[in-house]
């Protein structure tokens, strides 16, 4: 399949009082057209920064894009001016934000907000725009579209609001959708509903989706391929089933582990959480890795291809893994 999104050598830092801190450092990330790609990592691993950089929405400074290139479709994003970006955002790329509670403007009804977006992006007016808005609300499976249109955001529940936000994002007619932890602050049953909806819409509308989550089980429902982000670097990536069944990188294994049971396991978690340093050289995971050795502190781990669609950045491969 042809690559729709291609990120190369992207390095983003933030300026702070004690120097620049690297938050995103991606060698290569490719997403095919019509694919759902999941990006998983704990908080602070640079997921949202990466998402915002795709839309060029980072505030610079403090953010600094040191090097790299981002290609979306046939657009080279990074050199674009703010005015050019205003035409790309929404029409080509849309984004669903983390917190459904505050993403809608509190002073307008849901209908007004959807209609505004439709009027802007599809040049429809009056009745036609309203009709289209109703269709969008029905598309995200909200009952009583007519009534929802007249409601203010605070009258809707979190799940309903997130559906409205998805409707707005889709109303833009974008071919690429970034979903930045769309199920955050929602409870588990509602999460499942939203994820199912996103997966369905992705298939029927054939949009490319970058799905960001802090939880492997969330992306496994919606995505075909996933990447694990640690300190802004992709440490393992591949097909979702493959990674869930045979995790290789110690970080992936930690994320997949059930709650720690024995004292030993608890101690390991505690130790790994006490370290928050950034590695100057070597593997980013060296401080928390249970099997780190000298070589991890000195050298960047190489990329190992395991099978056709699975790669891992680690010095150690377990016995037999490279053979599979």
């Amino acid at each position: 399949m042809e690559d729709y999104i291609e990120i190369k050598d992207l390095k983003i830092s933030f300026k702070s009082y004690d120097g620049q801190k690297r938050v995103v450092d991606i060698d290569e990330l490719k997403i095919a057209k019509g694919e759902a790609y999941g990006l998983v990592g704990e908080s602070g691993s640079g997921k949202s920064v990466l998402a915002l950089s795709l839309l060029k929405l980072l505030t610079e400074p403090p953010a600094v894009i040191e090097s790299g290139s981002i290609r979306i479709g046939n657009l080279n994003i990074l050199p674009k001016s703010e005015r050019e970006m205003e035409n790309i955002r929404g029409k080509k790329i849309a984004m669903i934000f983390q917190d459904p509670m505050s993403t809608l403007n509190p002073v307008f009804t849901v209908g007004q907000q959807i209609i505004k977006v439709i009027a802007k992006n599809q040049n429809l007016k009056g009745k036609q725009a309203r009709q289209k808005a109703l269709e969008m609300i029905e598309l995200v499976k909200l009952p009583d579209a007519e009534q929802i249109m007249e409601k203010y955001p605070h009258e809707l529940s979190g799940g309903q609001r997130q559906r409205v936000i998805i409707a707005i994002a889709l109303a833009c007619g974008a071919e690429f959708l970034i979903a930045d932890e769309p199920t955050r602050n929602l409870d588990v049953t509602i999460q499942a509903g939203i994820l199912k909806l996103l997966a369905e819409l992705q298939k029927t509308l054939k949009v490319t989706v970058l799905f960001i989550a802090n939880n492997l089980s969330l992306v496994s429902l919606t995505c075909r391929r996933i990447g694990l982000l640690y300190h802004g670097q992709i440490v393992e990536q591949g097909e979702v089933r493959e990674i869930l069944d045979h995790p290789v990188h110690p970080y992936t294994k930690t994320l997949l582990q059930p709650l720690p049971q024995t004292e030993e396991e608890k101690e390991a978690v505690r130790r790994s959480l006490s370290v928050q340093e950034n590695a100057d050289q070597g593997c980013p995971y060296q401080f928390r890795c249970p099997r780190a050795e000298e070589i991890c502190k000195k050298e960047m781990p190489p990329v190992h291809q395991i099978g056709e669609n699975h790669e891992v950045h680690c010095h150690f491969l377990e016995e037999g893994e490279s053979a599979r």
Binding site: E86, R89, F97, S102, T103, M149
Partner: protein, 294 residues
């Protein structure tokens, strides 16, 4: 038709709750009634005034400075004109001029404040320093200076008031805009490709309106007062306009003999200002959920 009904139902409910909140606060409700009365009087002044021909230039020497009576409720002035009719017409002038002044001040202040707050940086600094310069003069003094330069007339007086008042709106809106621009829906709006101008007018300004409306209704009283003051000083409305401040100005010569000439326009100013101040306070309480249930 049914559709319309279901669509309107929540709105009607909201109006009812707001109205209920208004009713609970007796003083606010009373001042609202009074303001409605003022508006009605202002609109229907020609029909309500018993002597509409006494409004402008006319002399009626045989009936000058008569005390209040059945014929002239508030007495007559030095030219024999009916003070009651002139006060009714004065309502019209005061309300319209104050509305224009507040509107003009908002028209200047809100966009500048939103721009300053949203853009930040040097734009913010320049706009806010200009505000500081304007605010460092007492507003009445500034209005007097501007009105004196532009020449005395009602139009110039209200422009002067607007010019000395806009920084207040700019400041309020700037404060709101600074907190609003970090909100998720503003970022989301950027993410779907809205331009800065659109964001300022679709997201920032509408969300700033609650405190601005409260401030406007509070200011309305002060602006009526300032307008009357300017007219009293001879810098606002010119004779024979039936403006309240102007009427008090002409009456001061006759004050010892004809108390009614100064007292009734004075009461009119007092009540109008009081009503607008009370409604401003009441609105502030209604719009702030924390004070709502007291």
């Amino acid at each position: 038709m049914n559709r319309l009904k279901t669509a309107l139902k929540p709105r009607i409910h909201k109006w009812r709750t707001n109205f209920y909140l208004l009713r609970k606060n007796k003083l606010t409700f009373l001042s609202l009634l009074f303001i409605i009365l003022l508006v009605v009087v202002a609109i229907f002044a020609p029909l309500l005034a018993p002597h509409p021909e006494h409004i402008m230039e006319m002399t009626n020497p045989s009936e000058k400075l008569l005390p209040p009576s059945g014929e002239y409720w508030f007495g007559t002035d030095e030219l024999g004109r009916d003070i009651f009719s002139r006060i009714l017409y004065g309502t019209r002038i005061s309300l319209l001029a104050s509305l224009a002044a507040v509107g003009l001040a908002m028209l200047i202040g809100i966009p500048l404040g939103a721009l300053a707050g949203y853009k930040g940086g040097w734009i913010d600094n320049v706009i806010m320093r200009i505000c500081d310069i304007f605010l460092s003069f007492p507003s009445l003094l500034l209005a007097i200076v501007i009105a004196a330069f532009a020449g005395p007339s009602l139009k110039n007086a209200l422009i002067a008031i607007a010019i000395s008042w806009w920084p207040w709106y700019a400041r309020i809106v700037r404060g709101q805009a600074i907190s609003l621009k970090e909100r998720q829906f503003v970022r989301a709006s950027r993410a779907i490709g809205n331009t800065q101008g659109k964001i300022i007018f679709q997201h920032i300004v509408p969300n700033c309106m609650a405190p601005v409306i409260v401030q406007a209704s509070l200011d309305f009283g002060s602006i009526i007062l300032t307008l009357a003051s300017l007219s009293f000083l001879g810098l606002g409305a010119q004779a024979p306009t039936p403006e309240w401040g102007l009427m008090i100005n002409t009456s001061k010569t006759y004050f010892l003999n004809a108390w009614w000439y100064s007292v009734f326009p004075g009461i009119a100013i007092f009540l109008a200002v009081l009503a607008f101040n009370l409604i401003g306070d009441g609105l502030r309480e209604i719009m702030d959920p924390r004070t709502r249930n007291r």
